[in-house]
Symmetry: C2
DNA sequence: TAAAAATACTCCATAGGTATTTTAT
DNA sequence: ATAAAATACCTATGGAGTATTTTTA
């Protein structure tokens, strides 16, 4: 079972969307440009959908990319909620 | 950056919750009992929260486990929505 | 030609398997 | 004694890095 939509890839994706560049996203994520490129490529390959149009330096979202960007923000936010929320339950009796 | 809440682990977790057994969950997921045990253990270690109380054969959710089970269903469902939804956008013009 | 992304490798972390041990009924 | 989870060990996949090549503004 391939991960496809895991937090790692989704975070790479939303970061590229926000900053508009693989290279800058890589800096922000403390990764290399190569790693970000792989992550996005992996998403596109396994979804079978192009997320960006590569127009030289400019990175532009496709229609599918725009859709995923919205869903990805939601999913990542849900994950964050879960991660912080569960700490509150750690010492409760069962 | 560790994944922690990725789809693979969350699916293992929700399956165990639903069927009430590591071994049966493993069958359903086409994995081994060992792999499921690792997945759950990984979740617990990285969240720092026990998800199940191991009472011999019976597997019982802790309070934290019950909380995560709800959130996990939501996250997995969001992922599924994203995965199927994006296909509809695949051939749209940008 | 200079920037940004893609790619070819290399390395290592870890997911997953088999076999075995532990544990509670 | 048995059924289920934990664990030790091994292998293989793929995530991430460096270095390089390709691309286009």
């Amino acid at each position: 079972m391939p991960p496809i939509l895991d937090s790692r890839r989704l975070l790479a994706f939303t970061t590229v969307v926000r900053v508009g560049s693989f290279t800058h996203a890589a800096r922000e994520l403390s990764l290399t440009q190569s790693a970000v490129s792989h992550a996005i490529r992996g998403l596109e390959d396994e979804l079978g959908v192009a997320l960006f149009t590569r127009e030289g330096r400019a990175v532009r979202l496709t229609a599918g990319g725009r859709y995923l960007a919205e869903r990805a923000e939601l999913i990542l936010s849900e994950m964050q909620t879960a991660r912080t929320g569960i700490q509150a339950w750690a010492r409760r009796p069962d």
